[in-house]
């Protein structure tokens, strides 16, 4: 029922972690434990909305459902600009 506020919190804490790299983030991995009381499909829907607004540029939410009541952001995928500097 409160998946939108959880999605906003995931956006907030991820922005805090990523800093300036947030607009290069391509995917966010989230563990949504089977007992944590969060509905994965509703969360995914809400995350899609959060992660498509600035400073995000459409990062994909990748949810997994381990057993237990764990509920955490597990990883980010960042795209690095590694073109030669001159």
């Amino acid at each position: 029922m409160h998946e939108l506020s959880l999605a906003i919190e995931i956006g907030r804490l991820s922005e805090e972690k990523l800093g300036a790299a947030v607009d290069r983030c391509r995917a966010v991995g989230v563990d949504v434990g089977t007992e944590c009381g969060v509905e994965p499909s509703a969360l995914e829907f809400c995350l899609e909305a959060v992660l498509s607004h600035p400073p995000w540029r459409g990062a994909k939410a990748v949810l997994s459902s381990p057993p237990g009541d764990i509920f955490q952001v597990t990883w980010f995928e960042i795209e690095d600009d590694d073109s030669p500097q001159d």
Partner: protein, 223 residues
């Protein structure tokens, strides 16, 4: 362009839990016990609190934080029974109270003149279970007009609770509620649960509820 993966382990509830710890510290600093009162809508939280405030508001220096999705009707009802402060939180659609709201509500309460803080959560048997508010005890109201399988359908609420108050026992003759099975279902989810049966209307069991509250602020509080 190369894509690299950064491993992190950030609990989504971490911020709420930090705020809940702040609330807990604040309350401890003033020797206040907090109880988080939860149930489905209509289980009788406000009526139970009305009766409670009428008897114990002054002797136990009770302050109440009442959460509602819309309106402050509950807070108004409760305020009619006590000169002590009843602080309303209107969540504006949100399905639960969080620690930030409770922390803000504490700013409006005279903590030096409070010994017991009762937080009346939003009526909802799902979401409030996930949010630590800094309480010492979680009390779930479970009414006899509900199915006696409620604990099995909403396990997290009962798993996280300390006490179950079975309410509206005056209606037992008129409903198919099996008290023994209800208690068994609760214990199946959480063997540590303790129980009080009350009817706020008839007064049945209210002394036991009052004793529970008295003990929770007494010198043995926390034991």
């Amino acid at each position: 362009m190369t894509v690299r993966k950064i491993e992190v382990r950030e609990r989504v509830m971490a911020r709420n839990d930090e705020l809940a710890a702040q609330v807990r510290d604040r309350l401890a600093g003033h020797g206040i016990t907090a109880i988080n009162l939860m149930s489905s809508p209509g289980a009788g939280k406000t009526t139970l609190l009305e009766r409670t405030l009428a008897v114990l508001a002054e002797p136990l220096d009770i302050a109440v934080v009442a959460g509602d999705v819309q309106t402050q009707n509950d807070a108004d009802r409760l305020a009619a029974h006590t000169g002590r402060l009843v602080q309303a939180i209107v969540t504006g659609g949100a399905c639960h109270l969080d620690a930030l709201q409770v922390n803000d509500a504490l700013d409006h309460i005279d903590l030096d003149k409070t010994r017991l803080l009762i937080i009346e959560n939003v009526g909802n048997l799902v979401c409030p279970a996930s949010w630590d508010l800094g309480e010492k005890a979680r009390v779930v109201l479970f009414t006899v007009t509900e199915g006696d399988d409620k604990p099995l359908k909403y396990p997290k609420m009962f798993e996280k609770a300390d006490w179950v108050v079975l309410t509206k026992t005056d209606l037992l003759p008129y409903v198919p509620f099996d008290m023994q099975r209800a208690v068994q279902n609760c214990l199946q989810i959480n063997p540590k649960l303790r129980f009080i049966q009350v009817s706020a209307m008839s007064g049945h069991g209210m002394d036991e509820w009052f004793d529970f509250l008295r003990q929770s602020v007494g010198p043995m509080a926390g034991v």
